[in-house]
Symmetry: C2
Subunit: 358 residues, 2 copies
């Protein structure tokens, strides 16, 4: 373990060893600011990342991020996990939400309890009781015998822009502020700015839900493209406002602090502008059925579909229990009907209307 203090740019920096498991675009990109701070970064591929690791070893470049990785990154296949974990100060989970079961069984069961974990995976699981549980809490529930420090990253950040050193603001959340400060010190830098919060449920729910609502907002993109091929903003803004309204309600239902809506809104903003969630929302808005849209996307299962479905399931459970009203979540329930019941896109604009008396 490096624990020497080093002079660097007149600041005292503690060098740490950071092991990232999951060499997808975000797992690989989050190491950039950490490596540039002088830390040792070890990138470990999952069984699905073999090619990425081989390619990076040979060329120093990331196959799907399509960027040169920082000098000094060390690369490991999953069989070398034990070597990669040797003397590590932090384990980063870089898996997507489709890798969380694997990560829990193969990684979280073998690491020492003294090794803190930072998860980039955004997502939640619904329960039969209508709860929505974010991954850090799920891991803890599934591994009751283990005392792990499981922290997570929330906030608006695309991996490509992080790798390009764009100004980025995120929030690290976890149960212990001292641990969060130590992790922050490894990553913070001139372009990567980090708030800290012990409201794990609030931060994680806010940033997970935005995937569902980004799909909702981009329905308006498709609707207007179908109309005249141009972008129209009144309708997008209306769905954006309604999304913020429903996300705030969901945050309260989950037990998170309302203030976290800033991460949800910021993250919603960035998600609306990029990637496959915008693509599927746009296709659905243009009038394609869910099956046709998924065909266009070549059957890739999207996190936005998963999270929309899970969130809607929780809400439907709570409606059945009489704990919430369906009028409180018209946009979410419409998205759910479109993706899971074959309903055509037909935004329930009138249901969004409210009357508020002081």
């Amino acid at each position: 373990m490096y624990n020497e203090w080093q002079e660097k740019d007149r600041e005292v920096v503690v060098l740490s060893i950071i092991t990232i498991v999951g060499a997808g675009v975000m797992g690989s990109a989050i190491g950039f600011p950490a490596r540039e701070n002088g830390n040792e970064v070890r990138l470990v591929g999952t069984p699905l990342d073999r090619e990425i690791i081989d390619h990076a070893k040979k060329t120093g470049e990331h196959l799907t991020l399509k960027r040169k990785l920082p000098e000094g990154y060390r690369y490991y296949q999953i069989e070398q996990l034990a070597d990669a974990l040797l003397d590590a100060d932090l384990l980063v989970s870089g898996v997507s939400s489709f890798g969380v079961d694997w990560f829990e069984k193969e990684i979280l069961t073998v690491i020492p309890e003294s090794l803190p974990v930072l998860c980039v995976t955004k997502g939640m699981q619904d329960t039969k009781e209508g709860e929505l549980i974010p991954y850090p809490r799920l891991y803890a529930q599934h591994l009751p015998g283990r005392k792990l420090s499981i922290n997570a990253v929330g906030g608006p950040c695309t991996s490509y822009e992080l790798a390009d050193h764009d100004q980025t603001e995120v929030c690290f959340c976890g149960d212990d502020m001292e641990t969060l400060r130590k992790i922050k010190a490894m990553f913070e830098g001139p372009y990567y700015h980090i708030s800290l919060s012990t409201d794990v449920v609030g931060v994680e729910c806010a940033v997970a839900m935005k995937n569902a609502y980004a799909l909702a907002v981009t329905l308006a993109v498709g609707l207007s493209e179908k109309l005249d091929g141009k972008l129209h903003y009144n309708s997008q803004a209306a769905l954006f406002g309604q999304s913020v309204r429903e996300m705030r309600r969901l945050l309260k239902l989950c037990g998170g602090q309302d203030d976290n809506i800033i991460y949800g809104a910021g993250d919603l903003y960035v998600t609306v502008f990029g990637g496959r969630t915008r693509k599927i929302g746009t296709l659905l808005g243009q009038g394609l059925s869910f099956e046709q849209a998924m065909e266009e996307l070549q059957g890739v299962t999207l996190e936005s579909i998963v999270i929309a479905t899970r969130t809607a399931n929780a809400v439907k459970t709570l409606i059945a229990m009489g704990k919430v009203k369906k009028e409180e979540f018209p946009l979410l329930l419409h998205v759910d009907a479109v993706i899971n019941e074959g309903a055509p896109v037909d935004i329930p604009w009138d249901v969004f209307e409210t009357e508020f008396v002081l």
Copy 2:
């Protein structure tokens, strides 16, 4: 006064006479759904709108909105105001924030107290005590002897898209819910959806502030264009999130309900994508001084500049009084420094970082 009930599309509609004073793009566009509901719409130009009214009379088209106005719109020059007000059921103020003094002196002093008013003008005035007062409240303060019903429109709506019948969601606010419902009945339609609120201060503050923060968010557009000519979203999303954070704080300071942030966020979203506020934010972000940027915009005074300055003035007053801390509004104060003190754009990213302990 029409007060006959008419059968129209199997719904019973009360026809009303709506007089709009101010024939700019928004004043002219808000009459579209009202006219299409069968109401009589009378468009009265201010002394600055002579050409618009002349042109519309001759051609049926709006000179700056560049759209055909609805069949049956009636046009009046300001000298014909008395005729235009005859038997009117609603007066709409279509003036911009630069016309509010004129509107107050020339119009609000002469109308009957029984005539309700609906203002499309977004804006606030700061006071020496650090308050921010929206226009409906200012009018009431300035005309203490008059018992007027002054209502206002908030929410994300560009005039061009409203005139194009795009799906649009707004909020009408005023002191009396019954009056609001009557006004809503004149305007609501298949593409114009209206929530109602008696929280005038909350709705109006939320939608006024977004002009200041739209300028702030678009600084990131200019910063990234300067870098490589491309749009980057992490930095925009960071400024969007920070804007939502500061706007929620301002809402509380103004005494408005926090829930109105949905109008602020939606309105911020639409303003970031269009018009001159994006233009000036982008130019400033690219590195132009405020004077150079204003020169590019040919000296047009922007509402975003006015509202940013007024809001910052109120906040600076409250800081001097020890009622708020400057760390609570770093983005607003930076925008103020750029536009009013010649400071270069240098986003205080680190100051945005927070620590939150449950």
